[in-house]
Point group: D3
Chain length 225, copies 6
């Protein structure tokens, strides 16, 4: 998955962008619940810290639920971008409303919560599930493609969506039919985040450290090195 993401992003990055795609060496092998996020966040934060120390201009957290994004912005002295936040804001500029596709039905309320976290619920048409696990999308590319088209059509016709956000890496690569047949814009959040992030770095933009993302007061963290 890390490999796949790297190969996708390398294709679209600017020539002068130095890109490292990496993955925490501890934590859940997939993020399918708030519990998984909770365990993925501490090792992710270490990677952000490392990127900061190594002189990167920005760090992108490339999981659609943007795990640990607030904490990362607090501890980093460099720009931190979540792929969901970038995708939601770009989507809002490209059409009346957007729909998020997510693999499993069970996660729909969680996705609504996150859109509210970003205060973007007014531009949200709906969250819709493929009803396919990541394993299933991997095993059946034809079925996945068909299902994405079908759910996108429902989003457009029933919910008024004009933009589709692919809420999972396994969905990337099937967008063409959706655009051609339905006139919808399809966003791959990782790609969008990379391009927006390049622009923000150029413009020397950084999140404010005044309050919401202020550096945590120094303290003891028991049992942690």
């Amino acid at each position: 998955m890390t490999e796949h993401l790297r190969s996708e992003l390398v294709k679209i990055k600017r020539e002068d962008t130095e890109l490292t795609v990496t993955c925490p060496d501890a934590g859940p092998v997939a993020i399918e619940a708030a519990y998984d996020e909770a365990l993925a966040v501490p090792p992710t934060l270490k990677l952000v810290q490392k990127a900061d120390e190594q002189g990167y201009d920005a760090a992108i957290i490339a999981c659609f639920s943007d795990p640990g994004i607030e904490a990362a912005k607090e501890i980093a002295n460099i720009l931190v971008v979540g792929i969901q936040e970038a995708a939601l804001h770009v989507a809002a500029m490209l059409g009346a409303k957007f729909t998020i596709l997510t693999p499993m039905r069970q996660r729909i309320p969680h996705k609504y919560r996150e859109v509210r976290r970003y205060k973007m619920e007014q531009a949200l048409a709906s969250v819709r599930a493929l009803d396919m696990s990541v394993t299933e999308t991997d095993a059946d590319p034809e079925g996945t493609k068909k299902r994405i088209l079908e759910v996108s059509r429902q989003a457009a016709e029933q919910d008024g969506a004009e933009v589709i956000i692919l809420g999972c890496a396994g969905m990337v690569g099937y967008a063409e039919d959706v655009t051609r047949e339905l006139g919808l814009v399809v966003l791959d959040p990782s790609s969008v985040a990379l391009k927006i992030c390049e622009g923000m770095v150029d413009a020397k933009l950084m999140h404010s450290k005044r309050a919401l993302f202020a550096k945590p007061p120094a303290k003891e963290y028991k049992g942690m090195k």
Copy 2:
């Protein structure tokens, strides 16, 4: 702090309630940032899991930012209550609007975010800071008392608050003047959560496991025991 909380709660619990107050043995010594929360959550979740295994009826997460509440509800087979969520909902029943008091000004936007997480922003009058650190409130009880009264008065007169939520353990114990002089209701979130939780257990209430708090799919968690 754990000791102090225990002694407060023991006073108001029902006689037939068996209460254990405990604290994670790892993590930050105080929670003053999203980063602190991120590191506090994994050990907190272990305590919730343990409470569940040991046959408790419910677990209360007694830090005002309700760290890990979603993850805890996912993994537990017992009722989990956050002291913030209980306080917000009870506050909304007791007056037109409520104000949350928080120690440091810097954390105000974070508090607004959390009220939005619980969809209670319409009942929120304001978040106001004492501009005193926890150390300062501990060192100066008279000053703390005066400051709580002063900020509560501003909340009432300028923001229309009728209920004050004490957003930090260090503030508990100074409420009387606020109620007598200003006609405001003052809530200590831990106490409120305990009493609401007792009632919910009696009524055999449990959060739904259908979707938002569904059990996480089984998977490997690398580097964790």
Copy 3:
């Protein structure tokens, strides 16, 4: 109906709770419209006043539309709880969104209005009607049970509900299948209100009398004793 409510509540009240269930001796025999509420309120307020004078700790208005709740809170020196307000706030803690079941379709917009009155519309999945009158639910328990299951399923699958609030006394007693088959939490507002109220009395909580529920200025009430 009063008798039935008493027998239900007696089962779940705490042993040390002294409970009186009573009914105004004037007013409509059922509350199915704002007009019915308007005529039910004055005699209801007299009962609240009486409870206050007789030294009760709290009064619960046990009709789902919480008739006269603001006025009751104004005139009472004791805690007043509406069963709808208690149910809405507890529901919001137990799942992503809740649906209210109401007997007749015609009353749906009225229910939406009331959820807005309590500022809880963001947690509302939907209001759905059984399309059965109270007489019909009384006459056909099997049909009622089936209908509740059917409508709850629609609420869960189409509206994203995780909690069902039974918006009418006639619906109580059929909840088990809904929970077992659909993973939904089902709330009986009267029971919820009683348990929450017990906890609030223990915690010595009272609504603020500062403004929204301030005592009405003394005045002449013409033609009233």
Copy 4:
């Protein structure tokens, strides 16, 4: 007061409008609380019913809190208009935001509630109090005038109000300076309601009886004639 209202309205009514201004013979002598409203509503509804039976085209409830408006719309076969609802909607057409003036500070949260009832809170700049009782406004016209100007200026400069709604009969008649000095539009709700109502009757408009204002199902009303 009834007399005063009549003389004001007679001046602005259309020549062909037949106008009767009347007052319930029972109930509170002033409406300053939800409790007062609760007792004023039943006799008010009788007057609406009578107007309907006597062949009037419309009934206007001329108290700013629109007491009993939903019930009145349910039972009437003629158009019923509340002076608050008419004023809020007209105000929203005449400027960016409006402020409601109310006599006593204590009633401010109640006024916010009502604006929410009409779903007009997005156009509301603020509710501000004169801090004068009705008796005081009657006794001191010069002081009242000065105070209205002062509070209107605060509403304009601090809250962005462009329209002022006079939320009490005692305030009518002092508007000129507010308009001339501040460029604000000042609305007297009774006058606005009368003119809007005349237009609606001309256009044969009637509220829908489909659901929210449907006729209450027939039933026994115990102890009532």
Copy 5:
């Protein structure tokens, strides 16, 4: 179309109302896009200016998208009313929620935007399309009537609408069945605006010129006479 509008309005105007119905001599022959509006606005503003100079009491912009309404209110010294704004506010008084009918599906998101512009989205049930062009509604009165009834029924049953706003001139004249069969109120925006406008002129109401609709600062307009 101008002729048809004139004949409709003449029927319902007050006898003492002097009414001129006119049309810009430049611009698009129909308004079906923001682009069409953009080109229609400058000549429309000239007509408003002319009405002001000629001593009219008010100007009504009789196209449902209220093109140029803010600019018109800025430059005019007389009352300016948009037929959409009048219809939305009257609709909100007549039932729980309203639905706007529009000819073509493509324009639905635009209509939502406009309802938001007027801050009336909370009273909006839905926007629904006839899926008929203006040409088609002209050519097939029977089909149009049937389609309006069908779509209104969906609005009532699926979206909870109690009021239907006819968002296009071609729909006027088919309302009776909708009211009789469905209990819905049907509004023709032009008629509503005329009657509301007559009342507002009587009451000497004018929009505030303080800020939102303040006269534009004098400046050079290059290439314009």
Copy 6:
């Protein structure tokens, strides 16, 4: 002004970006009202059309009120970006809330309207005015700098802003102190839009033409060439 904008943007554009900065040859010399916008839009749209025909990848409308943005997106086959929409969305990623600075107080309600148009009002801290005309900011750089710092401080301390959006070209160039003294991020909308636009073009993003920005149906435009 066009010259100044060009020199600013040339500094930050990517080397491989071919940039043309141009200005309509007709219309108001400044945009200070909806009326000015109404007259500026038709000539602006011609420039967008020309850019499209000449093979540009994107057009940026570089006036903070984004005049004609919807119409431009309708008629263009290339990406169109407004500098306000880009700034609002980027601002929302960089801090808790943002404040917009505008020259004159009178335009504040108009700015609120536009933030609502973009559905970004939940991230808005406030709109605040410098109370200086464009002429004054040009004539007094020291005073302007001082005033920007002063108003930004109010935005931060009283409204909770963490990001400042410079809502007028005359304000650009004084940001450093604001960032250093207050910890605020300051955005120049034109610069932000250029960098975001470069990224969107790279990612081959285009607004959806399905409905909101669909091509206007062909029709006659009377009196226009």
